[in-house]
Amino acid sequence: MDFANAYSWINIHFLLRGLWVTIYVSLISIALSFIIGLVLGTVRYTKIPILSKVVGFVVDIIRNLPLLLIIFFTYFGLPGIGLRVNAVVASIIALVVFESCMIAEIVRSGIGAVPSGQMEGARSNGMTYMQAMFYVVMPQALLKMIPTLLSQFVSLVKDTSLATIIILPELLYRAQIVYSQDTRYMIPMYLIIAVMYFIVCFCLSMVASYLQKRFDTKTD
């Protein structure tokens, strides 16, 4: 097989730039969807009349749809309402919309897992609901959520590969470009991108299991 030719510096360099696209799209999406997910999850938990119901409805619909559909809706749908989007922006929007709903659900059940006595205690000490939420309940909830959140982020990194369908120039897409120009490179290309994805995701997973272990020993 043509491993030596397939792994020429030109091809590797081309792939590495794809890896960079994968990483920065992931990082932006992780940051935004974490913040939005936190807000949505809290709103849903708090049971504000109407608002919580609306948020709950939207979150439930979106997180039960395949991400691929959300990507199509952003890429093909947004220009219909006058917003021209390129593949990078469309991918980020789609990932953020989908992942914030997934995270909202994690946050909601995370807050739910904090004993209600904590909230009551904080309130009886004169804190407002918001203060109690942010200073007492949320930190505990977040600590519990860390492993689940991180594995959701690993999923997000893997899910960026779905955006090849709208020609986001990320890793998988660039591999396909390389082997479409010379089909003998197909096997080497899949091999190397599998390794690249593995390294990135495995590092994140390691962080997750490290934090989980630290957290477990703390509570014991």
Partner: protein, 210 residues
């Protein structure tokens, strides 16, 4: 949108059926494979634990789409030929089995060593204890997270569209590219997915709260 559904209902239904069939196949096989590796991971033998760890880490940290593409494009080049549906379903099964394995393992561990020791001291072998004491309790604990895995599995089955697997998403692509009504077609596809996933995930929420 109604006329789009009426004119293409057969195409949609074929896709809907293939998505259901693929999800059931992948669920059954990934439960078997996943539980198998979960048991390996909790075994006292270090070697088998290592094997299970490697399997799980590989399939958990590579995108499903890449796994499916490898089964569709790479494996047939030096092994068996397979069509898109088979390749996609195998990829989905292996990918999901890694997650199921993690879930079942945490279930087994939460049952606790005491149960195992108790069963062993009552004269059961390791496998008997696993089969009759540990696993039944473990599965009861992990049913809600397993249900969520199943919801994810149904959503993930949409990667079959990339490998010409004739699932719901693929059929949607076909209809969208022949009728040029992209957004309405995908809205219908979305509703079909929700019919499968929404009741399931509400039921899991209900179980969790119970």
């Amino acid at each position: 949108m109604w006329s789009l559904l009426v004119n293409n209902w057969q195409t949609f239904l074929i896709g809907f059926w293939n998505t259901i069939w693929c999800s059931i196949l992948a669920l059954v096989f990934s439960l078997i494979i996943g539980s198998g590796f979960a048991i390996l991971e909790t075994m006292p033998n270090k070697f088998w634990r290592g094997v299970a760890r490697v399997y799980i880490e590989i399939f958990r940290n590579i995108p499903l789409l890449v796994i499916a593409m490898i089964f569709y494009l790479v494996i047939p080049q030096f092994w068996v030929k397979m069509n898109g549906f088979t390749a996609g379903t195998i990829g989905l099964t292996l990918y999901t089995s890694a997650f199921i394995s993690e879930t079942v393992r945490s279930g087994i561990q939460s049952v606790g060593d005491g149960q195992m020791e108790g069963a062993r001291s009552n004269g059961m072998t390791y496998w008997q204890a696993m089969r009759y004491v540990i696993l039944p309790q473990a599965f009861k604990i992990v049913i809600p997270p397993l249900g969520n895995q199943f919801v994810n599995l149904i959503k993930n089955s949409s990667v079959l569209a990339f490998v010409a697997g004739f699932d719901l998403m693929y059929q949607g692509d076909v209809i969208a590219s022949t009728t040029f009504q992209t957004i309405p077609t995908y809205i219908i596809v979305g509703i079909f997915y929700l019919i499968l996933t929404l009741p399931l995930s509400y039921y899991m929420q209900y179980l969790e709260r119970k």
